[in-house]
Symmetry: C2
Subunit: 658 residues, 2 copies
Amino acid sequence: MTETPVPEIHAAWLPPVVFRALGSRRVRVDGEGPLAGTVRAEVADACARFGGVAQPSSPPDLLLTVAASGGAAGSEGFLLGHRDGATVVLADGPAGLLPGFFEVVRRGEAAFDPGLADERHEPHFGLRVLDHWDNVFVHPVMGQVERGYAGGSLFWHQGRLRDDLTRVRDYARLLAASGVNAVTVNNVNVHEGETHLLTDRLGEVAAIASTFRGYGIRVHLAINFAAPVILGDLPTADPLDPAVRRWWSDTTDRVFATIPDFGGYLVKADSEGQPGPFTYGRTHADGANMLAAALAPHDAPVRWRAFVYNHRQDWRDRTTDRARAAHDHFAPLDGRFAGNVILQVKHGPMDFQPREPVSPVLFAMPNTRLAVELQVTQEYTGQQKHVCYLPPMWSGVLGFRPTGDASAADSGRTSAVVLSAVANAGDDRFWTGHPLAQANLYAVGRLGWAPGRDPAAILDEWISLTFPDAPPRLRRTLHTVMDGSWLTYEQYTAPLGVGFMVRPGHHYGPDVDGYEYTPWGTYHFADRDGIGVDRTVATGTGFTGQYPPPWRDRYESLSTCPDELLLFFHHVPYTHVLQSGTTVIQHIYDTHFAGAQRVAEMRAQWRSVAGLVDPAVHARVTERLAEQHRSAEEWRDQINTYFHRKSGIPDAKGRPIH
Amino acid sequence: MTETPVPEIHAAWLPPVVFRALGSRRVRVDGEGPLAGTVRAEVADACARFGGVAQPSSPPDLLLTVAASGGAAGSEGFLLGHRDGATVVLADGPAGLLPGFFEVVRRGEAAFDPGLADERHEPHFGLRVLDHWDNVFVHPVMGQVERGYAGGSLFWHQGRLRDDLTRVRDYARLLAASGVNAVTVNNVNVHEGETHLLTDRLGEVAAIASTFRGYGIRVHLAINFAAPVILGDLPTADPLDPAVRRWWSDTTDRVFATIPDFGGYLVKADSEGQPGPFTYGRTHADGANMLAAALAPHDAPVRWRAFVYNHRQDWRDRTTDRARAAHDHFAPLDGRFAGNVILQVKHGPMDFQPREPVSPVLFAMPNTRLAVELQVTQEYTGQQKHVCYLPPMWSGVLGFRPTGDASAADSGRTSAVVLSAVANAGDDRFWTGHPLAQANLYAVGRLGWAPGRDPAAILDEWISLTFPDAPPRLRRTLHTVMDGSWLTYEQYTAPLGVGFMVRPGHHYGPDVDGYEYTPWGTYHFADRDGIGVDRTVATGTGFTGQYPPPWRDRYESLSTCPDELLLFFHHVPYTHVLQSGTTVIQHIYDTHFAGAQRVAEMRAQWRSVAGLVDPAVHARVTERLAEQHRSAEEWRDQINTYFHRKSGIPDAKGRPIH
């Protein structure tokens, strides 16, 4: 078994030069423990490279230290300010030194402005976790990384842990610099081989955890609910069975004996074929609470996914609505989950489509700790072949006010305490396949600290770090190409929130009817007269009723439903006039021509900066943009042709439809 | 590497009891050589079982002998008659003894009727070959047998030749009893591993050939056109390159040195990604003639497949027509192929759909030796989950008169000299997955001998052999369930000859638009007003012009085009009235309700004979009929719903459409 050699790995948002401002100064790091040690080593490296002085005997230009009046031991918060001619990071505790350090790095010279006013930094979400869908063994259908578009796993290769974990360390450093503090190392669809990570292959998890530990990142494990049967030779995995509970308790104790700072479990149960408590006539609360009991002595959580629905639906049955499923399953269980259970809810009610309403579950369970789950890997958003900068979408989710009032207090927003995201990195030399998809990965941690932050500002920050010496023209071009790319992607794919219309299985490229007659519960109901899913209380599936007012009423009424979600909530004629003043059919034509045209422009814009970018980066992006352009035109033509054939209504502008 | 144990193998159409009439008599076999030896051994077995006398000293009841005035040495012909109180088989040569023997077996007691009039038997097609699409190695997408629905390969297991070739011998015996005289052992898509069968793994082919030899069956090999590059380390596979020609000549000499009665090559070139002469700017005649030259000294043929088309077509381009491709490619080459080239033509212009017109190539190349290729494996006809007795379709192909006149001489039919068929057998205990699919396999050889034979008579013959002691009710039920099953399958799948509408990739189950926007050239062009492909000369792709008159005119005109091919040749409104008097849309509804209903009846009929059939056979067929019923209802509902949504025209009978 030889590991394939990798070409030079891209530095992503930590090229050496971003350490110049800090590395050319005198920097002192106070504090004990491994995290302080990591910061000291980083400072030493930077100073060695740029002529600064680490741990100077004279007064420093930058002091990183743990504040005497620190907060909780595990707190990552810190104060950034200026004291006695020096920039200071006053961390609440040892865990705040590293975030403070990277805050200074990100700022560059600006961090040393004597006019720097005090700023208090504290993460909004205490847990900011990337869930890797990595398999140990290459899955015959899903490959090594499920929905992975960036090569193989960073952790495993040919069925075994990589001998060389250097890239894992580099990855940990990148994540720390972005604000992430946890990683789940394996796929939520836990196949038999991966089930063993919990017990006889736990050593591999421990090795990975050691590599992440220096950067303040804890390792979580996705577990198989049937593990007591598969691994423990028990006849059942019934969560109320004492032997099963003991098995989980003993097994979990062994995990913590091996990995004292182990992060917790992640579970996909009773979903898409995975085992779960339903097998034993138990509730999801029973299942989650059993694992919570095993984890409680170690003060660690179990994240239990709310992605539960009937994936064997009869397409003929218009009363069943997959969008309702999570709320139907979980809202009645509010208050019945243990305190260390975190219910992990996909941000939309379906499955990571480019446009969905926010999941009503996020506002329906005040007595349950929630995680909101984003998908960084671009399963439905171009699979890292298309530029699709996702933070504007995520911002909409994280900033959604269930009260409907933009001026309401923040407390009105989702009460989720955890931000989780399905990872998009692999052993690709650019980490994410598409170099520009690094920005999505970068943004997770940044939004995890400050969900209200402007996505465009995060983008510019990422550009400044990743292309540190870029002239303004390149920065502007990158911003232009990326900032609106999610809306562009939406324009040329499924219209007005109706979703899916992708090729079944791999989910890339258009197939309008691909899921229309399948058991997956993802339909558009287009006929010769109209399209859309009636999810109203009045005449449809009643899904709108899962929202608090005023959203239930806004979505319920054709006259107030936002255009971009119209077909998610309503079935309308093609001639229905949108709030925008155009008809549904003309909107379809217009957006699809515009979207494909915009990709052509993006290509031209990228071409124009050829001389300003690392040739390897430019070549990779160029190649991906060519495919995006081809794909966008394919989407445009299939969607337009499909609806023209069905509606018979010509494009008002007479453009070519096949 | 252990081979998986197989349960008791089904006897198919050679259960011991069918040898009773012969085995209870005195039987003499004259003649020399291995084939006479095979017949003698068969006779000895039968007589030992049923009390007859093999090679009696007294005058026999049955004499099998080579006629003094025999025909060509390799002739398989024979005369069956009655002489001096005995039934006699007078074979033209040693190769006719075995077919004569099985003719007697098939007749049972009737063969010993003293009133038996002389009958001359001679195969219509000199070569009757089953092409196995077996891979040596399991292909990651296609599995071990491409489009195989009956388990693994009879020849290879886990990448190596099976140690035990007993089943291959049994298979050879079954084929001989049905009239087949050749087998291609490997897939026409020759992957790298299988390419080696030609050289360093030739010993495996020789072992298979030895096993088939005793039953008069020769072995052919599908070869990779790029073999000189892959195996020979040559820089090119250019068919006009002297080194390449020498390589093929030397390699072929070695094949015949190892297997003196080797049958010949089969080639899929420049098709669906396979290499071919186009790579080198050469014609298919150049490619085929090179291989023919290598084979000529050994008096063996190369079969060159005419299945060449653009599989990267732009669906937006309505001028390209895949149906035209074989004729466009090959008709201009008529007369340019060497005498031992056989151009192998799929029976229809597309790809083994349940209903296609006969390929015009079969009548366009009077100066070329042709093979007509059937597909016994049910790729598009229910994948051996559905009962679909195919000989009525094949009969239509083999009996098609290009002159259009049913009373014209037989010479007017296809001049093909070879009948080839893609095999449907595997290591399944019933050989073909669905026990009733054995009848399709059986019929290949029978039609190869006598293409004009009534498919219903072949069916009854197969029933009599396979269920030898069946009471009349069971025979009637089998006949009823099977005889019209192809038309039933057609009823509930794609309507009126339009084809495809299957799930891309695996080709099972409905997906009306599955191929509509793909590069495969298989479209229906359904819109809200109508459906079908305009292939007329007047307004369409001109495909009808590839037929001789009167067919070109019959197909060209809406008023004379047969209903069952209407949408293959014409794009018509849903309200178009068929020759049958009903509209296209109502025909779609009616046939789909009727087809699914008929499957329900077939299930009931099969249930009613539960006590009359071997329980294992009954159980397997029952299980498959349940799936066929589910699938037929799925087809019915998807097709009806699709066209109802598109046309807006209700079912005149008000039946449920979703």
